[in-house]
């Protein structure tokens, strides 16, 4: 940018050479954009590697406990937790009761066992407030490069997340059954975070160049 400013000042006002001044203008604009782009963007590969490690750990826990249900993402005191029903799918009231209890790995609520997991997601990149679709795009597309585009649609009590050209990491069948793919897991976490609510992962459909994940809202705060 400084180079551009000097070029413009010298060649336009001193030597009257418009061509070099134009090059200086281009340098100014490129310099401004470079200056305003954040320099501490983490490359996506290390983040994916770290989260895959977390997924692998969760897969081991799920293999041990063998839960039958789908993950329920709950926003509790500035964090998002995922409760995975061990036996049958609990009723909404059980999940809401579980939120009020001290957190343990396996929580027993009204006879239902719930496995409490912190879902693998880059929480440090979540802003305090924000639009859910922008955050989905920012995390899944820009930060982690797990898809080319992500869209969010609300249909009544359901959220539908569509990821275009998704990329999948590893083969973790238990994790995929309870949480869906890593994209679905992060999307569920983001939905609970942004709407400060409880959302249950319903199912995920993998099409040719698209992933569709459906979540049900259990509670609004």
């Amino acid at each position: 940018m400084c180079f551009g400013v000097v070029f413009v000042l010298v060649y336009y006002f001193l030597y009257f050479v418009v061509e070099f001044a134009a090059i200086g203008l281009a340098a100014i604009l490129i310099g401004v954009v470079l200056m305003l782009m954040p320099s501490e963007v983490m490359p996506s590969e290390p983040i994916k590697a770290l989260l895959e490690g977390a997924v692998a750990n969760i897969e081991c826990i799920l293999e041990e406990i063998a839960p039958q249900g789908k993950a329920v993402y709950c926003f509790i005191k500035d964090k998002v937790y995922a409760f995975v029903p061990v036996t049958i799918n609990p009723v909404s009231a059980d999940i809401i009761e579980a939120i009020k209890m001290p957190l343990r790995l396996i929580m027993n609520v009204e006879g239902s066992d719930l496995l409490a997991i912190i879902p693998p997601a880059p929480f440090r990149e979540f802003p305090a407030e924000g639009d859910a679709e922008s955050l989905l795009d920012s995390i899944i597309v820009n930060l982690m490069e797990l898809a080319d585009a992500v869209y969010l649609k609300k249909e009544g009590d359901y959220f539908v997340v569509r990821a275009i050209k998704p990329r999948f990491i590893g083969d973790y069948p238990r994790f995929t059954y309870s949480f869906g793919s890593l994209i679905s897991c992060i999307a569920g976490t983001i939905l609970a975070w942004c709407y400060k609510t409880v959302v249950q992962f319903e199912h995920e459909t993998r099409l040719e160049k698209e992933l569709v994940a459906v979540y049900r809202v259990i509670e609004h705060e």
Binding site: Y12, V18, E19, A21, A22, I23, L25, A26, L29, I30, V32, V33, L34, L36, M37, P38, V41, P43, S44, D137, S138, N142, E145
Partner: protein, 82 residues
Amino acid sequence: MNRRYLFLALYSLAAFIIASSLIFLGERRLDVYLSLYILNYFIMVSIFDPKIKYRSFLNVVLFIIFILIVVFRVAEILGWKI
């Protein structure tokens, strides 16, 4: 290639192509260069959607500059003196 670097590379390449083309055509009006650079910025940003701090403020400033260039050119064509 990382999207961020792709944006920077293509943005710079497009600016270089714009500058060289206009220099080759013998264009001597600096506002023509500036307006095309601004258009290039908006096109690249809309394609790649990069993370830029104060992006809205930058967009508004560049848009105002672009509009002023257009207004002055139109006024010149219409024979108005500003």
